[in-house]
């Protein structure tokens, strides 16, 4: 069976290598794509949408459908992970570990014991060994706000520089994941609960689809942002620029929430109790 798989893979790889020379060479101005497709967007995207970054204009405006369903794919990936992994179980029956913060003594509290829940002197720790490392905690605490700020910049500045909803959303999610790794999963839950993450992911997709529907209601076609001009009090070209921003915010919200929700489910095997 392994030999058969190897032969298939080698055959496919050989075919791909055989087909590669037929492609136009990299950056060839005479290739069909450079002759018929690209010139339109290079020449018209700024006058159509007032967005200097052509990639953003194409992704969120000319091919808005594509990006909308990409967001829907990411949303369904988060939902699928939730369905596969999430375990709903009240109060795990296992023993719990608490650390006395002043002395560093670790208490093991067996099943049925009195838990020092809510006490400021004790902190619950994961059942596998976790050293209390001040450097990691302080460094990540200093880093997280800047990472989040950079993520917002990437989303907001996607019109002018590389970036946009996907990248910004992933970076924002990574900031929350960094917090969850450096502290613990329960601390991350206090900041962004599972319910909030799921609601945000659905809200992001709804913002995107809602913008499209609003254009439909205002008499245009689906995702035709120029029809938003009446609501936003700008001309039709700037309305397309602002429409792209609204949609990017929706994408960013959905991607951020899905990344965090995926991490919550993967790192705790769906129990949402003890993480990485």
């Amino acid at each position: 069976m392994r030999k058969l798989a190897l032969i298939t893979v080698l055959l496919m790889g050989g075919l791909l290598f055989y087909g590669t020379p037929d492609f136009p060479s990299w950056g060839d101005p005479q290739s069909p794509a450079s002759l018929h497709v690209s010139p339109y967007y290079i020449e018209h995207s700024v006058e159509d949408t007032a967005v200097p970054n052509i990639v953003t204009a194409i992704l969120a405006d000319y091919r808005g459908y594509d990006t909308m369903f990409e967001t829907a794919v990411i949303f369904s990936a988060g939902i699928a992970c939730l369905f596969l992994l999430r375990v709903y179980r009240h109060k795990s029956a296992r023993t719990r570990l608490y650390r006395h913060n002043l002395t560093g003594v670790t208490l093991r509290i067996a099943k049925g014991g009195k838990l020092p829940e809510g006490s400021a002197e004790f902190e619950r720790i994961d059942s596998h060994w976790v050293p209390y490392d001040m450097i990691i905690r302080v460094t990540s605490r200093l880093t997280v706000p800047f990472v989040q700020l950079f993520a917002l910049y990437v989303i907001a500045h996607g019109h002018h520089s590389p970036g946009g909803g996907f990248q910004g959303g992933v970076i924002f999610g990574a900031a929350i994941i960094l917090y969850a790794i450096s502290n613990d999963l329960r601390g991350a839950f206090r900041r962004l609960s599972e319910k909030a993450a799921l609601l945000a992911s659905a809200a992001g997709v709804l913002i995107y689809v809602g913008t499209g529907l609003l254009c439909l209601l205002l008499g245009g076609s689906f995702l035709d942002y120029s029809k938003l001009a009446g609501i936003l009090h700008v001309d039709a070209i700037m309305a397309r620029s602002h429409g792209i921003l609204i949609v990017e915010i929706g994408v960013g919200l959905a991607v951020m929430a899905v990344m965090v929700s995926l991490y919550y489910n993967l790192s705790s095997a769906g129990r949402h109790d003890e993480g990485l």
Partner: protein, 81 residues
Amino acid sequence: MIWPVDLIIMVLVMICGIGAIMVRDLLGAAILFGAYSFMMCLLWAIMGAVDVAFTEASVGAGVSAVFFVAAVFRTSRRTKD
């Protein structure tokens, strides 16, 4: 495009890609996959596709590596085949 840099990155992409499927330790495979993503990100950046490079760096090398490590942490580090 500077061809020696291009060639070095291409070779590293291949080494990382083959290593990620050959290595027995799944944690090592996850890290090699992250390295592969980062090298691909450099290749995109060299070819001028900065938006794709940005996505590759944040999704491929950043978050998905964390997901792989989390999955390895919750399952097993050794592969059967």
